[in-house]
Every structure is written in C-alpha cells, then in structure tokens.
C-alpha cells in the first residue's frame, strides 16, 4: 500500500486515501483459507512470523517444520523471529508483506480482522473442537487459533511456603496476606516479588478477572460495568496487590527488579511467590535445573479467592495464529496452522493447556485438578469492545502503567489513597463507556 507517499502530499488527499485503502482491502476482504484435502498436493514456501525468537534460534522451530514436512513434503516453512514482535508486525501490517502465517498482534482491533486475515472457518464448526475460538470471531467467522492456552496463577516455592508452616492454599486475600507475613517472619525469602521494572508481569494481574466471581461472563462485565466497583474482580485483585506492597511484603526496591534474575531466585527460594501464569512454570523449572536445585519445588496455586468453596481459574489464549489475507499460499499456511495446533505437540512441549477441547489437562495443572479448581473459558464476544474502551479511557488494564502507579502508591512514592485511586480509574472507564454509547 502506498499510504505514506499519498499522505505526504496533503491532508486533502486523506479522504481519497481512505477510500483507496478500503478499496484494496475490500477486494480480498472476507476470503477464506480453506484446509487442503490432499497433503501431497499442497506446495509453496510460507513464512511464519513468530515472537518465539528463542525457539527459532535454538532450532526447535526447524524441528517442528521437519515434522510438518513428513505430512506436507512440498511445503517449505521459513521462520521470521521478531524480538519486538508487536512493534515490528504493527508496522509491517501497513503493507501486504507480513508473512503467510502470523500471530495476531494485540494492537489490531477485532473488527479489522477480516481486512488482515483469511478466515479459518465458521465459529459454529470450530468451537465444537477448539478452545478460544470466540477470541477471534468476527461476524460468525473465526480468524485465528491459539496453539496453547494458559492459566494464570501464583508461582511459589513449595519449600519456602512449607518452611513457613503453610500447608494449604490460602482461600481469601486476607489469608494470603497472613501467609506472606508468616513467610516474612519465618524465612529469609522475599514473600512476594512484583517484577515492577519489567512491567508486563504487573499487567498479568488483569488475568485475575473472572477468578474471584467465578464468572464466564467476566469480560462482558468489563464492557458493561465498572471493573473497580465494590467487590468486582479487578478491585479485589488490585487491592490485594496494594496490600502486599503496602504491608512491606514485596521486594525492597521494586524500581530495579530484574525478570531474568527473578527466575533462579524463586527456584532457590530467595523469592517465595510471584503472580504469573502456567506458562512460567517450565521457565522456573529450567532455572531450577540450571541453579542445581529441585525443579519440583516450583508450585502453582490459584488466586486466593473461592466461590462456593471452589477455586476458579480462567483459561486464556496465547497469541493466535492467523493466515495473512494477502498470502499466495493460503492452503499451505492453513495446513501449517492446523498441523501446529492439532499434531505438533507444541502445547505439550510448553507444558501448556492444549487448544483441543478433548485433550487432557497438562501435568502442570495436575494440582489444580486434584484440588478441584474449576477452569473457566471466558466468553470473549465483547473482548474487542473492552480493548477499545481500554484504549479510549487510557486506563490500560492490559498495560502495566496503572499498576506501577498502584505499587508506587502502596509504598508511599505517590500521593493519594487506594480508594481514591481505584475510583478514579473506574470513573475514567465509565466515562469512556458513556462516550462510546453516545
């Protein structure tokens, strides 16, 4: 697309340009990437854009491609690992050249999916087999598929927790705080590590949404109501984070934390707890192996809240793979996505939840299964709307900023009180809702 050139001309050209762009988009809009019937007839070279630069570098992706070639001998798969995935793909998507298969960047609005990606099939047909289909459904058609699912939770060091005399998972935020206090007084470990400096670990607190109220409609509630109303999930979560820091149960200087360094620290028991997700377990276990300590000490527990005596945990997709609508090898691209989702074993390799509904739970979630933790698949029909609200209000529930401010508030580096802060967020949010309605 020639957008930049046209724009350089004048502002008056904008109207022309907008129509030109929708024009090019329209010609291919709504195209499908159909699954090929005969694997031996599919051919071509496809480029897969991925955020897993580590897997590209250590050759794991090549191994997947080799396994894929056993079924599809004539398809050549190339990988393009991007360190700043979001940033780079966002810019490349202004052209037609953004690979054949790519992960849908978070910045793309749901309503724009049909302009950028070829459909994988109807929601009705795919949702029977796969999880997370509604995360990329527009107008009844599905545009992406996540190869893994993750479950949020507290990563904790079992040894440290038991040394502090704790045997059961805390069931309320208050109990959780008491446990952290016990850890602080009885062990040398840092009870909770915020990973403040690296930011994104703080944004994962938003994944609490749904766990407290045990509600599959949690996302819809964000779209309709105030996420920080009394007793609402996010208010419970943010209050807990505030209390942890306010009561001195977090690391001493959050502003200079280090994610990579936090991994061996929790493995060795210098850190007791971190709120992350099931995806982090394997990384912590690897860190334990490297540090020469027991990988089994890495434990995983749900958010400390129960509804009617059971814990709830929401499942959420990772990046969703999609086919570029401008791809010349849509059949091959589709074949890759299907193979990667169904056959590759990628989910197992990452100890993650399989996107296939019939697949058994991964071993890392065994403790959840044993404790009867209820796994919730959130209804994401209004997910796109929530994202729009989030950007419009500049609150950023999927971004780290407001939680950094919350942590600053809790440790006294920022003026104000918790209620005022959370109410202020709610106000911004509901105001954006009103403006969207008008």
């Amino acid at each position: 697309m020639n957008r930049r050139r046209v724009l350089a001309g004048s502002i008056a050209a904008l109207a022309l340009l907008a129509s030109a762009c929708t024009g090019t988009g329209g010609s291919s809009k709504g195209e499908d990437a159909k699954a090929p019937d005969d694997p031996s007839k599919v051919s071509g070279t496809i480029t897969v854009l991925t955020h897993r630069t580590d897997l590209v570098q250590d050759g794991t992706m090549k191994k997947y491609a080799a396994a894929f070639n056993k079924t599809y001998p004539d398809v050549k798969v190339e990988f393009d690992g991007l360190t700043d995935y979001e940033g780079e793909v966002k810019i490349r998507m202004n052209t037609e050249n953004y690979g054949d298969v790519l992960m849908i960047p978070a910045v793309i609005e749901k309503k724009d999916y049909p302009r950028f990606f070829a459909s994988l099939g109807s929601e009705a047909e795919r949702s029977a087999q796969y999880r997370f289909t509604d995360y990329s459904t527009v107008g009844g058609k599905v545009y992406g598929q996540s190869p893994i699912g993750v479950v949020p939770g507290m990563i904790y060091n079992k040894k440290v927790w038991s040394r502090a005399g704790i045997t059961d998972w805390p069931t309320t935020p208050a109990e959780f705080l008491d446990d952290l206090k016990a850890i602080k007084s009885k062990t040398d470990a840092i009870p909770y590590y915020t990973n403040f400096k690296d930011m994104w670990p703080l944004s994962s607190w938003t994944n609490v949404n749904g766990s407290v109220g045990c509600d599959t409609q949690a996302t819809t509630r964000l779209a309709e109501g105030n996420p920080w109303a009394d007793g609402a999930d996010l208010r419970v979560a943010d209050t807990l984070l505030y209390d942890i820091v306010h009561q001195g149960l977090a690391e001493k200087d959050p502003t200079t934390t280090n994610w990579e360094a936090s991994k061996p620290k929790i493995a060795k028991g210098e850190i007791a707890t971190m709120w992350l997700g099931s995806w982090a377990i394997i990384q912590m276990q690897d860190a334990a192996k490297q540090a020469g300590v027991q990988p089994d000490d890495i434990g995983f527990m749900p958010f400390p809240a129960q509804k009617d005596g059971t814990f709830c945990a929401v499942t959420s997709p990772d990046y969703q793979q999609a086919v570029n609508i401008h791809s010349r090898n849509k059949a091959a691209a589709r074949a890759w996505i299907d193979w990667f989702t169904d056959v590759s074993g990628y989910a197992d390799d990452n100890l993650a939840l399989s996107p296939l509904k019939k697949a058994p739970l991964p071993t890392v979630l065994k403790p959840y299964q044993d404790a009867g933790v209820k796994l919730l698949d959130l209804d994401d029909t209004r997910g796109g709307e929530v994202k729009t609200l989030d950007n419009r209000s500049e609150v950023g529930i999927y971004k780290p900023d407001y939680r950094q401010e919350l942590v600053d508030l809790a440790r006294g580096a920022r003026k104000g009180d918790l209620d005022g802060f959370l109410d202020g967020l709610g106000e911004k949010w509901t105001e954006a809702q009103r403006n969207a309605g008008s």
Binding site: M1, R4, L7, A8, S10, I11, L14, A15, A18, C21, T22, G25, G87, K90, M93, N94, P105, V107, I108, E109, D112, R115, F196, K197, M199, K252, D253, T255, T256, D390, N391, R392, E394, G396, K399, P400, D401, Q404, E405, D408, R411, A413, R414
Partner: protein, 317 residues
C-alpha cells in the same frame, strides 16, 4: 569546533572559485558542470534528509488531523479535534515539570563542561587521556547506558557499594521516589552529555589564536583573566548554541528515563507520554498532535532565547 569545521568546509568552495575566472573564459559546458556539481554532491544528503526527516514530519502533521490508530486501514479526518483534546487536558502538560530536573542538570553540565574544557585547553599532563575519558560516555549507545545505570542504582548495586567503601550505608532506593529517581536520571544524562558539550567548548577555545594567550601572558594576565576576557567572549556563539540544545533537550528527554524506568514513579516526560499514547493506547492521531505541539514549543523557546540573547559576531582581535 563548530566555527572551525564550517570554516574548513567552506574553504574548498572558495578555492574552486578562483580556478574559474582564468585568462580564457571556460566553455559553456564546463560552466554548466560547475553549477551542477555542488548539487550532485548534495543529492545524497538531501535525499536522506527528505526521506527520513521532512517526509515523516509532513506525515506526522497530516496524522495529527486524523483519528488514525496506527494500523487500521480506516482513518477519518477530525480537523483540529486532536489539538482541542490536547489543550483541554492540562494533565498532559504536567509532565513538563519533570523537564525542570533536566534543565537544572544541564546548568551543571554546561558549567562542568566549560570548566574541563578551559582546564584542558592549557598544557596539562595526560591532557589527551582526560579528553578521552570525558568524551567516552557520549560514544556509548543510550540503551547500553540505561542498562548499565540500572545496575548502578540497584539495591546493593555499584553506587551503594562505592558509598559503603567510604563508610556511607545509605540503604536508599535511588529510583524509589519521584524526586530521587528524577535526580538520578538527570545525573545519568549529565554523565552522558557532558562529553559532547566539553568537546564543543574545547574546539571553540582552541580556535582562538594562540598569540592572544601569549600576549595576555606577557601583559601579566592571570588564568582567570584569560578565561574572562579571551575564552568567554571567544566561545559565546558555541555557548549560546549549547544552551539552546540543552533547553530543547530537556523538553524532549526520552532515551534514559524510557529505558531505565519506562516513565514509572513520576519520571514520565512529554515524549514518553507521547510514545505511550501512540503505541500503547493506539491514539496515533492524538500522539502526532502532541509531537507537533512539542515541536512548536521548542521552536518558540528557541526564538525567545535568540531574541533575549542575540548571537552577535565576536571580534577578538
């Protein structure tokens, strides 16, 4: 140094000119060539300048009148809507208070650079070594500096260890509070840019003819008098340039705080805020408007400054 390089760069042109009007007037073709040649040389830099500076600026100004989100093929013309929003949200301009820290720091920076440049312009032992030491930080990539200083300010990091050597057990979270964090970051900025100012000053001082110093010494002028009556007036143009660069630099600080704190704990600057608007909240239109406003503010400040302190020609001899 600035005046020096311009003078030297100007020389080839003036030298080429006298070669022309020889006894016989050059043929038409040669004259044409002579006129075209400088433009041929200019093609490369001009092309780069237009592609990477002016075209994006024109684009940015165009985006600032739209509601573009940075990726969607759809964008609507919203007139002055973004500017109206910008000026009805005073909290967006509060971040300029942070620039105050950097402005204060640049005073320290200029004073320091001037001091070192003066001292090292005289015959000091290990002169070149010290020049290298002072200029070195400017050569390091800003991102690397950010990471290095993260370790430096860490709890129990380099700074704490050094202070402990001298018996100070501060136990202070250097990036912990807004004041402390901004002062620390401004300190890093001084460390980084002092070398550049120093080199500019040193060049200017060395372009002052040596006879002047000799004459001054014969007349019994002290080092302070030499500075006051020869060096200071001699480097005035460079000094005013440096002040302009420092002021515009303080208003548009980005790299160091963005890498070290990401704008957390009250260290957010106007540019960081703009980047967040554009790339976190996908308000590319609004962010472009903010960038245009920043550009105008800097131009205005520079204009006022030039008005207050006109850049007169200085004649030393």
């Amino acid at each position: 140094m600035m005046t020096d390089t311009t003078r030297r760069a100007a020389r080839p042109v003036t030298e080429a000119a006298p070669a022309g009007p020889g006894p016989v007037p050059a043929p038409r073709r040669a004259r044409l060539w002579r006129r075209v040649t400088p433009w041929l040389f200019l093609i490369a830099p001009l092309a780069l300048l237009i592609t990477f500076t002016y075209a994006p600026i024109v684009d940015m100004v165009a985006y600032s009148f739209t509601d573009w989100d940075g990726v969607s093929p759809e964008l609507r013309y919203t007139g002055a809507g973004n500017y109206r929003e910008l000026f009805t949200r005073p909290e967006l301009f509060e971040v300029f208070f942070v620039s105050g820290y950097y402005l204060a720091a640049s005073v320290v920076q200029i004073a320091g650079a001037l001091y070192f440049a003066t001292v090292l312009s005289f015959n000091v032992r290990f002169r070149n070594f010290f020049k290298g030491v002072l200029f070195f930080p400017y050569l390091i990539n800003g991102v690397a500096i950010g990471f290095v200083f993260l370790y430096f300010f860490q709890d129990g990091g380099t700074l704490d260890s050094v202070l402990r050597l001298f018996g100070h057990d501060t136990d202070h979270a250097w990036l912990g509070t807004p004041e402390s964090a901004n002062v620390s970051l401004a300190g890093v900025s001084v460390w980084r840019y002092l070398g550049l100012n120093f080199v500019l000053f040193l060049g200017a001082i060395q372009s002052v003819p040596g006879e002047l110093y000799e004459a001054a010494e014969l007349d019994g002028a002290s080092r302070w008098h030499q500075f006051r009556y020869i060096i200071a007036p001699g480097i005035r143009p460079i000094l005013s340039l440096t002040v302009i660069l420092s002021v515009s630099g303080s208003l548009s600080v980005f790299e160091i705080p963005y890498i070290m704190t990401g704008g957390a704990t009250g260290t957010e600057t106007f540019v960081i805020q703009t980047v967040k608007l554009a790339f976190q909240f996908n308000k590319t239109g609004l962010a472009s408007a903010a960038a245009v406003v920043l550009l105008l503010i800097i131009l205005a400040v520079t204009w006022v400054q030039r008005r207050l302190v006109p850049d007169d020609k200085v004649e030393l001899v």
